[in-house]
Symmetry: D2
Subunit: 376 residues, 4 copies
């Protein structure tokens, strides 16, 4: 078996400019093997407070140093230098642009028309690899056109597009996030459901072919849509482009844990190993119960009151219908029976994450929950 | 000519609850005539820093006290008690929910399917007034269903829906806003272009039948869509429901000016007078040049740099292609010719508003501009 | 033994007005016994994100309902309606006025000159109780004078003074706080060191007679200073006014725990029982190691770098000189030995609290630590 | 007359590190003449939203290129890279550390004991220049000791001390600020009152020898105190160290104006010319009325209500007792005579600056005003 020769590089990509007129850049670590294999792109901390992914990339990088890699792996830690550095009080206000509220993970590019148009240009005996190259080149042009708009571009959009230009080249894209107070979970496109069991992650959300602005969707929707278009047009052929993309939620925001990051990195290496990113198999998936929901069954429980909340139900635990999710204190009624009340589970569910602060206004996302979940 | 008898009422509507568990309410001032006429709904300050509209409602209310009103006018000043009270530094962080970045003016309700469904139930000789009543009742049920969701509702959505329930009853809806540093302008649905000349507002943006979450769209899109569906189905009849909705931008945020508010209120009274909201005509529109653009030609100029900006071009003035919009200081190059540079107009344009701070990151909305504008 | 007759009342005190012109008030729960005894004042959440104290007051209140109280106890939960409701991202920006950065617990009143002046008016055979009444009345006038300033008063100062007017009447004042991520600890004036062992709190900070703006200091400094002045002037008499004040830190901010609050309330009841606030003894102090430091030995460890931090040393644990406090990730050096480094304890210490976010700029309070601590 | 030979240099000083672990630096522009003369230090934007000073430094720098300089001038624009880049909404949250509320201009170093100690070491025939050198060296050691604290240092303190180390070397220190909405004014130490007339600034605040943390105080208090100590000890000798420091308020925050900056720079050059910083006189002071107050008469008018405010009295204009300062709208009383009320001047005054937002809580600094002012 051939031993891989792997070239390593570290570069910096300028993604923004601050009010002092200084360039803000992100580090781009790249391992490139002489052996053919999938191209992989990983980034972390597009939401500035979601930092555990950086630890995961650190452990991955250590593993890759000396690993028998095939193909190519690109790692972009701390990929949002604006969001990562925006403090408001002691916490990091990293989920949206402080100027306009734009979510940092909702301005990736998706051009529905381009897909339809390109699908029309394909004939049934086109070579899959050639299609991939050609399609990528068209998607890239489409992104670059946006980046070069004479009227400029919004900050989040500009950041997203510059990252997406790199991610676009990859067959496998992993966007590392955290929930507020959260158990580990992963977003998987429905067509790649079979891949979910190669991650050591017990909670799986299966998402449809709908673009809402995130990197995983921006990565797989064009290929999924193209496949659908071609499959319908030329049903006799199996159209598989081998592109998969995931949003991986590595626990709670505002926290890094080096030790937990080792397990997180092994989870990813197990999947990559399955995808033949290494000459030799690295890890086997852990035996564990993996529960899944369709996105429509991943429910938000909003507060229907303002007050102070104890989150009684812990993320990842099963709660039956009628069980207590949260207990609320009402400071105006401490002397009577309305002093406290409970938030009750409206059906059987598994809370996956909850709001990180005890103080809530009405209309706050208290919990996000699996309902109608099933074992994978 | 009959003299109107007008009943006045003031009530409070609870729209949210804060973290202390206290109800947050908005005042609802209502004038109701015994004479038939249009129902009008006005609100101000859904974006908490945009406060001039409150002054305008104050002057309107003074005018209405004793006026010969027909129909009904509802005034809801300071309609967002969360956004109005959120300070961050000396300014009001009132444009979006501080928790999740949700724009306070983007969570109104629109149900495309309901429209199609309802259109199908109409026959060509249905009475317009009966349709209006029935349709409103269906829209209301649709909103209430959302409000009563067992899983709850987001804060902005809840606020928006409670206001929309009131606005829904009106034939005329005016949502009073301000730009950052801004000249007066108004958003008008394309089909109501003829109404634009009854406001004393020199800059008019004509918007298509597309719902993006704002109150004006949430108000007119259902009627416009219904009209389109019926017109196509029964072309022989003229389907006109007489509903109009506008977003009116009353100058710059963070500022109130009592005197300027008088003119603003007269501008609105002029339009209402034209719509027969009064027994006797109140005001005639001012002779003035009114310039309009289609929404697609209302362009955002983003900064393609970070730095300190002097906004050279003043809102409302004509700038020719190649003219200077802004001048930028680069603090790292004060000793050489790169110390300053200019932002140039890429085409003939009229800046309508600009960013309110000299300090900008790359990707900031420097200006919003009329291009390809024309006289109304 | 006489059974107490206890009157209960609930009132609301207006402490501020928001930008909507609405009064903001705090609930004031009061238990007043017909039997003589100390007056006690407790408040919680002057820092808006420090919410556990509200739970403690809830449990206290439940205990007091039916208890054999002597004297009087006033409970003011959620005493800062501005700070409690200021969200920035998902967290509560409750430590300072968002407009000007003023710490909500640093604007209480202290008038050095008044103390000196009053001390001069005392003769050696003045009655202690009469002095207390008279002195309180002078302090009250001094506060009211400030509150009635024709030029007005800052928001934090106004809030603080209105609360202080109530606290001023009490012999015992407890201000309930939380640390960021924190073990339980208490601030005790040096002269009341003997009282520390009546709380079930393992970590005690002994503070000198220095006023820095906080409520505990504002409460005891005037009495401590008066005592010192009189003791020096009339050394033959023991001048003891029996006033004690504490800042009690009930764990971590942003969190409420009903169960833990029971223990917290018992800790306070134990102290109050010792101070003869009840006809019958309620609780005995728990046997536990209580460690103390002088304030000068309660050290802040600042970050001397920016980066992502894992807080290795847990609050409340003993760390020896040279032990690891924290581990830091450097995202620009993931490929080499500078990828991580450790923050080391410069001496034997006990970390009491640490910063609640993994992301830190240089100059951030990483830890606050006991050094040179001793057993009480 | 000798022509000066002036060396120019540009360097960068690292003053902080962000959460990405990246160094944050400030540019340091320096002109050094071969001819003896005063050392001058200027900085701008320590409060991140106060940006006009950067324009002034730009114009000064252009003037200095080729000027007949004596001594040495150091220019540090945009001297707070943290504050300058902290957006919250559209504005810059640049007045305090977002983590802890620490004002960026209140953590400079002042060591009272060192002064007393050093004064004791002086004998009456010590040479002034030697004293200056020796004293500076001691102050520098004192700052460096703080910077090298094994426990680290707070972010604002660290930034301040690094800047102060440069400012310490200068005889003349100018710290360029802006007010919120403000007319131009200047803070002048009482002993340097005669220098006020060399600036073209109509409003002068005379400040006493009290250290409150700002750079101007940190600069002049040590010298003023030393002078006082020596003057008392050796009254026969005139102890003058020739050190002056000013906080110059160049109009309103959040705004840059290139043209206005030219006049601002001429104002400063006029003063510097008077202080013999140039071989030939550059400018003469403008004839203008200069009004002054003692700091105790520079009054803050706080809002005693929450609501929406029109700032009727413009900064820099004379308002008589009883005149209208502001007009307030009360949205809950639009239908009656309490809809609006006025804020009245309690005495003759000149408003110098006002709050930049119409929306105020109770306890907001509405205006800062000259009272008991006099002509210089």
């Amino acid at each position: 078996m051939a031993k891989a020769k792997v070239a390593f590089s570290k570069e910096y990509l300028v993604v923004a400019q601050n009010a002092s007129g200084r360039d803000l850049n992100v580090p781009v670590y790249k391992f490139k093997s002489n052996l053919p294999g999938p191209k992989v792109y990983l980034q972390s901390s597009i939401h500035g407070a979601e930092v555990q992914g950086n630890i995961v990339l650190f452990h991955l990088l250590k593993h890759l140093q000396g690993a028998d890699l095939r193909g190519e792996i690109t790692l972009v830690p701390n990929c949002n230098p604006v969001g990562s550095n925006l403090k408001s009080g002691e916490y990091t206000l990293g989920r949206f642009d402080p100027v306009n509220g734009q979510n940092w993970n909702r301005a990736y590019h998706y051009d529905k028309d381009l897909i339809a148009q390109y699908a029309n240009s394909i004939n049934p005996d086109s070579d899959i690899d050639k299609i991939k190259t050609e399609y990528r080149s068209k998607l890239k042009v489409s992104i670059e056109k946006k980046l070069n708009n004479i009227w400029g571009l919004g900050l989040a959009e500009c950041l997203n597009l510059k990252l997406q230009k790199m991610a676009l080249e990859a067959d496998i894209v992993l966007d590392l996030h955290n929930g507020p107070v959260s158990t580990r979970h992963i977003y998987v496109p429905e067509y790649a459901q079979h891949s979910a069991k190669f991650f050591n992650i017990p909670n799986v959300i299966l998402i449809p072919n709908v673009f809402s602005g995130a990197l995983d969707e921006a990565t797989f929707c064009p290929w999924w849509s193209l496949k659908n278009a071609l499959q319908e047009k030329f049903p006799e052929k199996e159209w598989d482009f081998g592109v998969e993309a995931f949003t991986v939620e590595m626990g709670s925001q505002e926290v890094i844990e080096f030790e937990a990051g080792v397990a997180d990195s092994i989870s990813i290496l197990t999947y990559l190993s399955h995808k033949k990113c290494f000459v030799t198999k690295q890890y086997s998936p852990k035996e564990m119960i993996r529960r899944a929901v369709y996105l429509k069954d991943y429910k938000v429980m909003f507060s229907q009151f303002g007050g102070m909340v104890e989150y009684v139900a812990k993320p990842g635990t099963v709660v039956e219908k009628g069980g207590v999710l949260a207990r609320v204190l009402n400071i105006d009624e401490l002397d009577n029976e309305k002093a406290t009340f409970e938030v009750i589970a409206p059906c059987d569910l598994i809370p996956i994450l909850h709001f990180p602060s005890a103080s809530v206004f009405g209309g706050t996302q208290l919990y996000k929950c699996f309902t109608n979940y099933f074992e994978l």
